[in-house]
Every structure is written in structure tokens, then in C-alpha cells.
């Protein structure tokens, strides 16, 4: 991995051509998460916070080992804990590290009306450029995994960067480095898929998991984060991992047949403004937002 892989191949809200568009992605990177060897130790959560200099936030007891109900604008990596009883009465305690999936066909980027607020590099990383973010929240609607989160104070949206800064220097993401059991792997997409398939086969052959498989959903063009699941037929068990994620039809419409509309920058901007007003109303901070804020 090197800086070379950080050439931009997709840009949100951009009129005109993109230099890297259509470039063959020789260096597509991938994070493999083997949920069957994850022990939910949260080392990745801590590493993510420390590397990205995210502030401590307040949490409350929620009848679970899970740190908080869902990722936050300043908490990008969260292990989801789910108890599941199998038909034979045995229990599974499923732990899934949840973060941005870095889709090949990213719904957030497709939905984003702001030029350059979301980019995709040739290595597959989908990265938010907060300087260009207008806080409209379209990306939140466009994401089938419910990942991007708005900082209500700055009105900017944040999510996992797949440690673009580390990857660009040839390092693995912080979460990968911290994992004590080695349930996290990092490498090229081909290598990771190969490893994942082998592990899934091992689970099918040698453990009591006949449905073990790999999660790399085609509806979003595949992802740069893939999972090995004990039960690939039921990804919903793992904290609502969608079985067949795809970009919402509204976004597809907006970015597909109606793309000419977006190319008219003026109109696009106006609609953006209008929809922003509809979604958030006048710039008053209501109580909900105050609650959502976290202490730094």
C-alpha cells in the first residue's frame, strides 16, 4: 500500500470528470473481520479512539456489554454484542465489530450533493472531507449500514476513515494492529477473500456451523470490509447486518435517471438547501440534539 493507492476515483456532488475514474483498482485493500474468533475485547475500539484522537464520551449502562447503542460521530468503531439461541438450545454470543464498510458502490457518496465532501480512493477507501461537508445528512440516508453520524455542534458528518493516514504510509489500520486474537486481518481484497473463504470452509467442515460463510454484499458492489460469519444465511443476527444491502431507491433515482438535475449546480444547491431546511428546520438546537451531544 502506498500514497499511490490514494488517488481519487470518485467524488461526491462533482460535475465533470474525475481523474482516477475507471482506473483499475490494482491495490484494493480490505479488512477481514472473523466474527468467529472475535472475543469482543474492545481493543479495536480503544485503538480507534487513541489513533484518531477522539475524545472520551459519557456512556450509560444498557443491559449489555456493548459500549453504546450505536456508533457516534466521535466513536467510529463499535463491537455489537448479541445473544442468540440456536434451535438445539445452545447459546451464541455474537460479537461483530461494526464500522464503515467502505462499499465499492458507496451510497453515502452517491447521495452527497456537496462537491468533494466524500471521495473514494483507488484503493477502495471511502473518505469524508469535512471541510467540504455541508451537514445536509444525505449520506446518512444513503448509507445502508447506518454508519455516518452528524456532529450536531459543527454540523459535519464523520465516520471511520479506514485509517487513511496510516494506510497511505504502508501501515495497517489501528484496529487491526491492536487485535489480540488476530480475528482482524488486512491486505488486498483478493487475499482477504481467499483467507475468509478458507476460514468459512474450516468452520463448515470442523465446527458445528454448516452455514458459515463470507459477507461481501454485492448490492453495494462488494465492500472493503468483509466478515466471516458463523451463520451467513442470517446476517441480521449480528446486530442487524443487512442481508442484501443496497443504495436506497431515492438516492439511486437522484443519482441515476435524474443525474442531469444534479449537474445543474445552482438547482442542486437550492434543493440541497431546501431539503436541509426540511430535515433540520431553522438553525435552532432542540433538546434531542443537546442530549445527543457528548461530553469531551
Amino acid at each position: 500500500m502506498s500514497q499511490e493507492t490514494l488517488r481519487i476515483q470518485k467524488i461526491s456532488g462533482h460535475a465533470g470528470t474525475v481523474a482516477g475514474e475507471g482506473t483499475q483498482r490494482e491495490y484494493t485493500i480490505c479488512k477481514l473481520i472473523d466474527t468467529t474468533t472475535c472475543i469482543g475485547c474492545k481493543a479495536c475500539e480503544v485503538a480507534c479512539m487513541e489513533w484518531n484522537d477522539l475524545p472520551f464520551g459519557e456512556t450509560i449502562f444498557g443491559n449489555t456489554y456493548q459500549t453504546m447503542p450505536e456508533t457516534r460521530w466521535n466513536y467510529w468503531n463499535l463491537i455489537l454484542f448479541n445473544e442468540h439461541e440456536r434451535e438445539d438450545g445452545s447459546l451464541m454470543w455474537l460479537m461483530r465489530k461494526n464500522q464503515c464498510m467502505h462499499c465499492a458502490d458507496p451510497g453515502c457518496l452517491a447521495a452527497c450533493p456537496s462537491d468533494g465532501a466524500i471521495v473514494q480512493y483507488t484503493n477502495g477507501i471511502v473518505d469524508f472531507q469535512q471541510a467540504n461537508c455541508i451537514g445536509c445528512g444525505y449520506c446518512i440516508t444513503g448509507c445502508p449500514f447506518d454508519i455516518p453520524k452528524l456532529n450536531p455542534q459543527t454540523k459535519r458528518v464523520f465516520k471511520c476513515t479506514l485509517c487513511t493516514d496510516r494506510v497511505g504510509e504502508g501501515l495497517e489500520p489501528a484496529c487491526i494492529k491492536s487485535c489480540p486474537t488476530g480475528c482482524l486481518h488486512f491486505g488486498s481484497k483478493d487475499d482477504m477473500l481467499d483467507l475468509a473463504e478458507k476460514r468459512a470452509k474450516q468452520l463448515r467442515d470442523h465446527s458445528n456451523y454448516p452455514n458459515a460463510g463470507v459477507y461481501d454484499p454485492k448490492g453495494v458492489g462488494g465492500t472493503s470490509v468483509v466478515y466471516v460469519l458463523h451463520d451467513a444465511a442470517n446476517p441480521e443476527l449480528y446486530g442487524g447486518l443487512p442481508k442484501d444491502p443496497h443504495i436506497p431507491w431515492s438516492v439511486k433515482l437522484w443519482k441515476g435517471p435524474l443525474k442531469w438535475l444534479g449537474n445543474v449546480a445552482m438547482v442542486g444547491g437550492l434543493i440541497g438547501l431546501f431539503v436541509h431546511y426540511l430535515r433540520f428546520g431553522p438553525k435552532d438546537r432542540d433538546e434531542e440534539e443537546m442530549k445527543a451531544e457528548t461530553k469531551s
Binding site: F61, G62, L91, R199, N208
Partner: protein, 835 residues
């Protein structure tokens, strides 16, 4: 650990019980995962709760806390019944063939106790717990003293003699049927059989290639019979031929980074460094002490036994030379008179009891939070109220240094009556000092200070050193009753006030005090040089060594614990150049047992050591744990630290206070009467106290829920409640309870519940989960709850008023194991109420 962390990657089967390594040892747990990934190894998790470890296990059994011996005894019975045992290993490497004295009786025949029990005094006469001497000779012993082990033991290699160890074992555990296991443990019979089948499958059809490991932690030690649980595991491993093997062994996971080092250095009252026996008032002289403490071999006549503890005088003299230098001479019995003679039990619960009763006047508390770690925190607080002084060295304000403002003291309103003077000294944290950690695998790993100490912090050992030097000055100035042990202690450090820890390690390794020569190899060591290993130790005062098992850690070649060569030529996780492990940089103990009688590895693909016929030596990928030139035909036993030379399935004489075979006894507080023998429900040898604070509850008083305590990955003991990062991960204390129980009581997750024992109360939010289920214990529906213990009355959440500011250990009691003196923190009775 007999083996080590990295070695777990070599295993085929893991029984993880009394421990939750995925939770508490996540970094070490990588090797368990590696075994799963690379060898298709299986994990069996047996625990009162479905844990993080259970989440990656192949089989989980929910066990009632405190019924582990019943489970393991059941597996022993299963292995024997189904012939899944290592026959050759058993006959040649264990005492299975040894014949036991005729008058020895099992608890199945004697109403729940072994022969020799005095019901009035609650003591055992252990004379019958011995081997029969060959030819019917009487065991010769000193007049009045119990007979020692016979020099020549009667034996039967066919294992048919009804009084041989194997037949007694078979008889003893034949009572532990799957039905009995179900009644006691609450594990349904079919589940238990699945677990027993899976674990013993490594010896299916007599195959010896595979290896299984047993991994445990304080979930086994913290019972009124904890030592015997671990012994049951060791016996099972001997029965299956798993000890000494790569991927095998009996593996204790230690709860702190250096708890193994603390134990090695005699953190306990009844040992000297390196597990040497302390002198007692009965030892009139050095020679008398050595005669008692040094074993002589006891074995079948044609066999050989190295009896390595026969070297006890060499280790002991060298220790006394390290302590007292020139003041330890042959004439004064190597300063024998300087050593305190230990007359009784001075273990943890006794220290607090002595303070409670006014004999202990003060306490130096370093590296631990005595009030919080309990047991019976309220008793400890009551004890500290009576102390004259308390010194606490800590990095945070803790519950112990602020015992006088605990919520209970405030509620009782007697804070003003407390006269204890408390000195709280800021100490360096682990990252602010150098030194070595000895990990669970016995590896010593040197570390450097990462950051300077903040503010006015001091080094713990600097504080101790300065107190010692001050006491010595006072003796010098004012004299005293017996100043010699204080005045003559060697103190040759370059910085007397803060002894550099590398110099302390050098002292522990030991050096030559005169020119030495090995008669066999002609290798020479000059006076003053560091010793290469404990084989050089002498009992004539020409060597000094602070702890014999650490000899070799700091040699003329430098600090071996600081080595960081990651290479592993054998690929078996030996890493001989990474740090240094005791003894002699050997990674797997008793590794001669990894070979058959002829010296050939049981599994040629996992070769540890083997006999080289050409060089007539034991060689290998690991350092052989054996006499290097002992030919296999001499039949020397691989368990060189036992006088028998073989593994003890039967532990004779005083090896254990409560019996030569482990027997299931109920916890001191139990929901049922022991189904094996109602007349002797609990351990007859348990240590108990009878103070006002030592109260015990029964089901009749409404204490009908079994309670156990545990730790979380997200927190470290009572420290991290002060660290915002950890507090964010798990912000508050909680109580884990079964969904079924919560439904019955109308409790929802997040609501407050009160847990009470006969000793105290604990209030926290309920975590309602499917990970604990109700169980049928001897026909009675029984609930179990679990409480993580990381909170107290000082910390971020506590100081913000977000918790009830109470201690889990105010629930636990002081009854303790008679061998290791560990209190029964796991498996006591409580009642649960909605608040």
C-alpha cells in the same frame, strides 16, 4: 503453568474451566485461537456463566460454582470406564502401579472422610496415607515421628492389585457417575457426557499422538477445596498422558503481570524464595531443618529417581549466603537462628483476623487494595479501625487508604472514634519503573521505565529500602534484643536508598564466592562471577543465590531476561532467545514425559526432547527437564521433583491436608447437602474463623441463590475505575442474572437490585441475560448470579454519585482452603431483591 502461553498453539483440545481467558487474558488467548485455526483444536468451556471464552468454544457447560471436583471426577470415571487412558504412560510415569498401605480407607467407605480422621479435633492422622513397602517391610521412621515414604515401594505393573493406586482411583471415582455429576453440578447428563467424550477423544483407541490442555485461573483456586480441584485436573492429565507434552499440561493463568514472580519470591508465609520450606519451631538446628525439608527417594526397586529436591541444602545454604554474606557460616548453621520460625498459619485471612483481634498493630499495603479485595471487606474495615497505623503505597486514592470514610463507617457514625494513623504514599506505576515481570508461563521479561514518575512519587522498593535502613540505624543507635538479622543483612547496592533492580536480579541469580570447577567438564568459574545455573550451587558456602530457580537469569553473559530474539527454530513456540524462563530456560516442565519409555517422542511431529543413542544424551528443541545422561533403560522417572520420580495420582502423607485423592465437598455456603455423604457435606479441614464478623448463611435463612464474582476485560482490578477510557467502555457496576429469574422477580435490565449475604449487601443494576440459566441441583431449581468486582467507593463513577459506592467483597466470606489458604470467593449464598 507446566507449559506456557505460546505452547497452547500446539494443542488439540482445551478444557477451560475455572478461568475465562478470553475475558481476562485476551492477549494470551491468541494462542488458543491459533490452535483452533491451525489445528482444528476444540475448546470446552465449563463455567457458571456463558462467558467471552464460551462464545468461541465448541462446547459450553453451565456448572454450579463450587462443583468442579464432581465434574472432573466424572471425567476421570468416564476415561477409565471407556478405556481412554494412556496405559504405558500411566504405568511407567505415574504412581498408578504403587501399592498403598492396607489400612488406607476411601471416603466412600468411611462416611465422607479418609482414614485417620479425628472428628473431635478435625485433624487427620495421615500414617495410612502411604505406600506399602516392598516385601512387607515396616517403614522405618524416627521414634514418635510419622513414618516417611518407604525407600522401596511395593508395586504391581499389571495394575490389578486391589490396593494399587490405579484400582483405588477407579474405585474412588466410580461413584462419580454421570447421574451423580448431574445432581451435583447441574450439568444435564447428556451435556456432561458430550464434554467427557470430547475431552477424552484425544485418547481414542489408545492413540498417544494428540495432546489436551487444561487451562484454569482463580475460578478454581478460590474455594474451600481449591487446591484439590487443581489436583483433580493434574490427575486427569496424568491419566491421559498429557503432562510434559507440547499442547498439554496443567496451566494456571495468573491474574497480574507479575503474580507468578511474587509467588516465586515467597509471597506466601510458608515458603522461602524458590518454594523452599520455611523452618518451624520444631527445627532445633540447621541440620534438623534440612533433614525434615529434604526428601529421600521412594520408588520401586528396579526404577531410578533423581529426587532433585535432594539438593535442598545447596539451594538453602546459597540463599542464606545471599541474605547474610560472611555472617552466614558453617559454624552458625548458615545464620539459621536469624530466620523466623513459622509456628502457624499466617496467611491473608489470618493477618486480617489478627488485626481484627488486636494482635497485628499496623500494615504496610503495597500493590494491593486490601479492603476491596477482601474477602469480607467489612471485617477488613473493622480490623483497620483497630490498627494503630496503616501505610498505603498507591497510584490512586483507594478504598484501603480511605477505609475510614467508607459508606458503612459513615452510616455507623463512628468515624471520629477511629484512631488509626494513615500514611498514603504516592508510588510509581508499572510503566514508571524498570524490572522484570514473571508471567504465567514462568518467563521472566525485563522492561524499561517508559515514562518518568510524576510529582513526588517514589519507587515501592525504595520506600521499603529506606524503612529498612532507618530501622537498622535505630538498632545501631539504640541497640535491641536481637539485632543480628537486621545488622548483618547484605545490602551491597550502588544506590542503597533505591536499589537498582538489575542489581537485585543479579543477586537473585547468584554468584561464586570462591573459584569453582565442574569435575565432569573442567569448566571453571572464578570467585565473584555470576553463576550459569543452579547446577553449580553448593552447600559449603562457596556460592550465593537469592532464589535457586532464577539461577541463569543474569549470568556473565548479561541480563538474560532482557533478550528479545523472536526466532523459533523448531516452530513449536519455544523461542529460546526471548526473555528467560525458570527453571534453566526450560519452556515445558517434565518434558521427558513427551517421550515413551525408550526415549522416543509420542508424537514425532511435535518433538520436544528425545534420547540420542549416539551421544548417549537427552537433547531437543527445548531444554530437557531431566538428567542429561540417564539412559532410558535405567527407568528414571520424568517427574524429577517428586521423590518417587513419577507423577502422583495418589498424593501420600502430608502432601495435602485434606486427602490423597480429591473428594467433592460442598462449598461452605451451599444450596444442598452433599449427595455423596450427607454426614460430611463440606471440607472437614477447612479454615474458619469465629469472630462476630464471620457470619455464614443458609438456605433456611433465605440465602438460596448461588453467587460468584468475576472480572471484565474492560477493567483492571480496582484501578481502572479511575481511568476515563475504561469507564467509557463499562461505566457502571452490574449484576448478571438469568432472564428467567428476572422475569419471576419482575426485574428489568437496568433496574437496581440488592444482593445480600450473611455479611453484607451490594446494590447495582441488573444485567438480565440468557447467558445464565436456572439449574436443577439435586432436584432443586437453583439460580446463580455473577457480579464483576471492579467498583468501590472511590473512582470516576463513584465520585460522581453514579453507583451505590459498595464493594462486592462485602458479600464474600473468610473460610479458606486448608492447603493454599485461599478464601472461598466463588460460590457462596445470597438473596436477591428488587430495590
Amino acid at each position: 503453568m507446566t507449559n506456557g502461553w505460546v505452547d497452547i498453539k500446539n494443542t488439540d483440545m482445551m478444557l477451560i474451566m475455572g478461568g475465562n481467558p478470553a475475558e481476562n487474558h485476551p492477549c494470551g488467548f491468541k494462542w488458543a485461537i491459533e490452535a483452533k485455526r491451525n489445528r482444528n483444536a476444540k475448546i470446552i468451556s465449563v463455567d457458571p456463566r456463558f462467558t467471552r471464552t464460551s462464545s468461541v468454544a465448541d462446547l459450553f457447560c453451565q456448572i454450579r460454582a463450587g462443583s468442579d471436583i464432581a465434574f472432573l471426577g466424572g471425567v476421570i470415571n468416564y476415561a477409565i470406564e471407556n478405556n481412554r487412558i494412556a496405559k504405558d504412560y500411566l504405568v511407567n510415569f505415574t504412581n498408578a502401579a504403587f501399592v498403598v498401605k492396607n489400612d488406607f480407607k476411601l471416603p466412600g467407605d468411611t462416611d465422607g472422610v479418609f482414614s485417620g480422621f479425628d472428628a473431635g479435633k478435625h485433624t487427620y492422622d495421615r500414617a495410612s496415607w502411604n505406600y506399602a513397602a516392598a516385601g512387607g517391610a515396616a517403614n522405618a521412621g524416627a521414634p514418635g515421628a510419622p513414618a516417611p515414604l518407604p525407600e522401596k515401594v511395593d508395586y504391581d505393573l499389571t495394575l490389578q492389585n486391589p490396593n494399587c493406586v490405579f484400582q483405588l482411583l477407579k474405585k474412588h471415582y466410580s461413584r462419580y457417575t454421570p447421574e451423580m455429576v448431574e445432581r451435583i453440578t447441574g450439568i444435564p447428563k447428556d451435556q456432561f457426557l458430550k464434554a467427557a467424550e470430547m475431552y477424552t477423544s484425544i485418547r481414542k483407541d489408545g492413540d498417544m499422538k494428540m495432546a489436551g490442555t487444561i487451562i484454569y485461573a482463580v475460578g478454581w483456586t478460590q474455594h474451600s477445596f481449591g487446591t484439590q480441584i487443581i489436583r483433580t485436573a493434574a490427575m486427569l492429565q496424568l491419566l491421559l498422558g498429557n503432562v510434559g507434552r507440547a499442547g498439554g499440561g496443567v496451566n494456571a493463568l495468573r491474574g497480574h503481570s507479575n503474580i507468578q514472580g511474587a509467588t516465586d519470591m515467597a509471597g506466601l508465609f510458608d515458603t522461602l524464595p524458590g518454594y523452599l520450606k520455611v523452618p518451624t519451631p520444631g527445627d532445633a538446628s540447621f541440620d534438623a531443618w534440612m533433614k525434615r525439608a529434604t526428601p529421600t527417594s521412594s520408588k520401586p526397586a528396579p526404577w531410578d529417581s533423581w529426587n532433585y529436591y535432594g539438593n535442598t541444602p545447596k539451594f538453602t545454604v546459597s540463599l542464606l549466603k545471599a541474605m547474610y554474606g560472611d555472617a552466614a557460616t558453617k559454624q552458625n548453621g548458615w545464620a539459621f537462628d536469624y530466620l523466623p520460625k513459622v509456628d502457624r498459619d499466617y496467611s491473608w485471612t489470618h493477618l486480617w483476623d489478627d488485626m481484627y483481634n488486636g494482635t497485628v498493630k499496623g500494615m504496610l499495603a503495597f500493590g494491593m487494595n486490601g479492603v476491596a479485595i477482601g474477602p469480607d471487606s467489612n471485617k477488613n474495615i473493622d480490623a483497620l479501625k483497630k490498627a494503630e497505623w496503616l501505610v498505603v503505597g498507591e497510584i490512586y486514592p483507594d478504598e484501603t487508604s480511605e477505609f475510614w470514610k467508607s459508606p458503612r463507617v459513615i452510616a455507623q457514625g463512628d468515624m471520629k472514634q477511629i484512631q488509626t494513623t494513615v500514611y498514603r504514599l504516592p508510588c510509581a506505576g508499572f510503566a514508571e519503573k524498570d524490572g522484570s515481570f514473571t508471567n504465567s508461563a514462568r518467563w521472566l521479561l525485563w522492561k524499561n521505565a517508559a515514562v518518568p514518575m510524576p510529582g513526588d512519587c517514589r519507587l515501592d522498593h525504595g520506600i521499603v529500602a529506606q524503612i529498612f535502613l532507618k530501622v537498622r540505624d535505630l538498632y545501631k543507635k539504640d541497640g535491641g534484643k536481637f539485632p543480628d538479622p537486621i545488622m548483618n543483612l547484605t545490602w551491597n547496592y550502588s544506590d542503597r536508598l533505591n536499589p537498582p533492580l538489575a542489581e537485585v536480579l543479579k543477586e537473585m541469580n547468584g554468584k561464586a564466592l570462591a573459584d569453582l570447577e565442574d569435575p565432569a567438564t573442567k569448566q571453571q568459574i572464578k570467585a565473584g562471577q555470576q553463576l550459569p545455573g543452579f547446577a553449580w550451587l553448593k552447600d559449603d558456602g562457596t556460592t550465593s543465590c537469592g532464589i535457586w530457580i532464577y539461577a541463569g537469569s543474569f549470568t556473565e553473559a548479561g541480563n538474560q531476561t532482557a533478550r528479545r530474539d523472536p526466532s523459533d527454530p523448531s516452530g513449536m513456540g519455544v523461542h529460546p532467545g526471548w526473555g528467560w524462563s525458570w527453571p534453566a530456560n526450560r519452556r515445558v516442565l517434565y518434558n521427558r514425559a513427551s517421550c515413551d519409555v525408550d526415549g522416543k517422542p509420542w508424537d514425532p511431529s511435535r518433538r520436544q526432547v528425545w534420547w540420542n543413542e549416539t551421544t548417549q544424551k537427552w537433547v531437543g528443541n527445548d531444554v530437557p527437564d531431566f538428567k542429561a545422561d540417564s539412559h532410558p533403560k535405567d527407568h528414571m522417572g520424568p517427574f524429577i521433583m517428586n521423590p518417587e520420580g513419577v507423577g502422583r495420582i495418589f498424593a501420600p502423607l502430608g502432601a495435602f491436608a485434606d486427602g490423597p485423592f480429591p473428594e467433592h465437598y460442598e462449598p461452605i455456603e451451599s444450596p444442598i447437602v452433599n449427595p455423596l455423604h450427607a454426614g460430611q457435606s463440606t471440607n472437614p479441614m477447612v479454615t474458619r474463623f469465629k469472630d462476630a464478623d464471620d457470619k455464614f448463611g443458609t438456605t433456611k435463612d433465605g440465602f438460596n441463590v448461588v453467587c460468584t464474582t468475576f472480572r471484565l476485560t474492560e477493567h483492571y482490578h480496582y484501578w481502572t475505575k479511575n481511568n476515563p477510557m475504561n469507564v467509557q467502555l463499562v461505566p457502571e457496576p452490574f449484576i448478571e442474572m438469568a432472564a428467567e429469574m428476572a422475569d419471576e422477580m419482575g426485574i428489568r435490565g437496568g433496574e437496581h437490585v440488592k444482593v445480600s449475604s450473611a455479611r453484607g449487601e451490594y446494590i447495582a443494576k441488573a444485567m438480565v441475560t440468557k447467558r445464565i440459566k436456572s439449574m436443577m441441583i439435586d432436584g432443586k431449581k437453583t439460580y446463580q448470579i455473577g457480579i464483576p468486582f471492579h467498583w468501590g467507593y472511590r473512582g470516576i463513577a463513584e465520585d460522581e454519585g453514579k453507583t451505590a459506592r459498595n464493594l462486592v467483597n462485602s458479600l464474600t466470606h473468610t473460610a479458606a482452603d486448608p492447603n493454599a489458604h485461599t478464601p472461598e470467593f466463588k460460590g457462596f449464598l445470597v438473596k436477591v431483591e428488587k430495590v
